[in-house]
Amino acid sequence: MSALLEIAGVAKSFGTIRAVDGIDLAVAPNAFFALLGPSGCGKTTLLRLIAGFEHPDRGAIRLGGLDITAVKPNKRPINLMFQSYALFPHMTVFANVSYGLEMEGLRGAELKARVEQALGLVQLSDQAGRKPHQLSGGQKQRVALARALVKRPKLLLLDEPLGALDKKLREKMQIELKRLQQETGIAFLVVTHDQEEALTMADRIALLDQGRIAQLGKPRDLYERPENRFVADFVGQMNFFEGRRRGSGFDVAGLGLLPAQDLDALPEGAGASLAVRPERVILSESAQPGALAAEVVGSAYMGQDMIVHLTLSGSGLPLVARLPAAHRLAAGVENGRQVHCSWAAEHARLLVK
């Protein structure tokens, strides 16, 4: 299937700041795509370039094979759900939603039917006569969604759609957005700084760093196979060890040879970072061959899981482990306790800078 949205070599600078620095990506029809990154990574600028509110310095934006780089935002079959929702404060919910259809020249019964359908889709049919200031945050967000969806765009852009909602509502809306995307068949492109949100909702994620794509892939790829240190660090928690390959292991000063995945890809003597997820660290009370001795220096109970902060004996390097609260050791974790840590080679990833 050919891509719905193609971004080819797009760059945009503001003064001396390169907000978007040469980005290529493609969004498939019917996709739920997330642009993820810390603030200032260029994700919002990229979103505004796609919506047409900014014009790229170079590169092209194509939608359904047509070059839309020079097309004005009001002529693009793309709609944007604003972070602030940007509801028209002087109009009712109904008028907010009907506005975009009126601009298409729609009138009368058809207009009314389309608006009511859109309000039904976001379960706001009974709020049609209200003004935005009479609505809760969650309701405003759904009006903004209905207002964008009612136009049946080819692509819906969502700028931090859940940013202003509290945690419970956010989790509910993540599922809701996913449902709406599947029901309408419209491609969604979400901008977010919340990795959990991106991992939960999107089927593809582009992680941005300083105006460039750090990694593009499925959520599982980003979490389990990060391609560089930035990705490994940004998505989830990670332990890093700096060292170099020596023979059949990865040599970290003070720790000796550690097991690692795809060691053969690294030339003898070459430096890299070894990355291990906290939940992949195995803790035991008794010494195992190859396990590292460590002392517990802190712990945090998280309900389901427990985070244990350790200091590795000899080297003094920190290590974070995450174990299920039901784990045999979890109940006995206390500061000063001596434990032994290890991990399987396939869970230790080598990242070359």
């Binding site: 509110f53 004005k72 009001n74 709609n79 604003f82 940007a86 028209f88 002087h90 506005y99 601009m103």
Partner: protein
């Protein structure tokens, strides 16, 4: 704790407040009362009468002056509301240098007499004829500054993203202005227009300098000034009472609109 009983300090404060209000509104109260005085003397009360209001309604000169003032106020308000609002929008969009922003507000602060002389010199330099049209232009000068300032306070609470949302939904810039921007800033614009109208209708110095000769460009305050040279009559008190009533209502409406807009 203190209950309905007031401490001496509180009583003293209330008395003080009463004195301040008396100082501010005492003379005006006297004027209003005297406008209903039967006798023509401004010094003694001789009984209630509305005859001065009747005489006023029959005074050709005053009616002519009122008409002139209304023309000046309506036209200069119309000009300054349009220009001042557009100026405010432009300044919101472009964010000019602070010095330029200060220059826009300057006509509000420059003493009227200075502005009056400056305008008169400018009009003579251009060899412009003087009359109602020159007063209208002169009033527009300071009113644009007031309108721009009032409308800009409204923009402080304006979420720019609703303009982008309108364009995103397919509206062109003009439709966006008509259906989104203008309705949202409307309370500020109306308040600004009411203020401009109030300022224009009782403005004397600038009108006096920029008016032409003869009664064709005599405004209402100029007419009162002419009459007062022959002494204060209850007729003038009646005129002043009406003017004050109208100004009071306009200022009240303007402030109320601005306050509602804050919500």
């Amino acid at each position: 704790m203190s209950g309905p009983l007031k401490s001496p300090g509180q009583r003293w404060l209330q008395a003080h407040l009463g004195l301040v209000y008396l100082f501010l509104y005492g003379p005006i109260l006297v004027l209003i009362v005297l406008s209903f005085n039967r006798a023509g003397l401004p010094t003694a009360w001789t009984g209630f009468s509305t005859e001065w209001y009747g005489k006023l309604a029959a005074n050709e000169k005053i009616l002519n002056a009122v008409q002139n003032s209304l023309i000046v106020a309506f036209v200069s308000t119309a000009i300054s509301t349009v220009v001042g609002t557009l100026l405010a929008m432009g300044m919101e969009e472009r964010r000019p240098h602070p010095a330029l922003e200060a220059l826009v507000a300057a006509p509000m602060i420059i003493p009227d007499i200075v502005l009056a002389i400056a305008l008169l010199s400018f009009f003579s330099l251009l060899k412009m004829t003087l009359g109602l049209h020159s007063i209208i232009l002169a009033h527009a000068v300071f009113n644009i500054a007031f309108v721009c300032t009032v409308v800009r306070t409204r923009f402080k609470h304006f979420d720019r993203s609703i303009v982008e949302a309108s364009i995103d939904l397919g509206a062109n810039p003009f439709t966006t202005f008509r259906r989104v921007t203008l309705p949202v800033i409307a309370p500020g614009v109306i308040a600004a227009a009411l203020l401009a109208f109030t300022l224009s209708i009782d403005e004397f110095i600038i009108a006096y300098f920029t008016a032409g000769a003869g009664s064709s460009s005599t405004t209402f305050p100029m007419q009162i000034y002419a009459m007062i040279r022959f002494g204060v009559t209850p007729e003038i008190n009646a005129v002043a009472t009406i003017v004050m009533g109208v100004s009071f209502v306009l200022v009240f409406l303007s402030q109320r609109l601005n306050r509602e807009a804050e919500v």
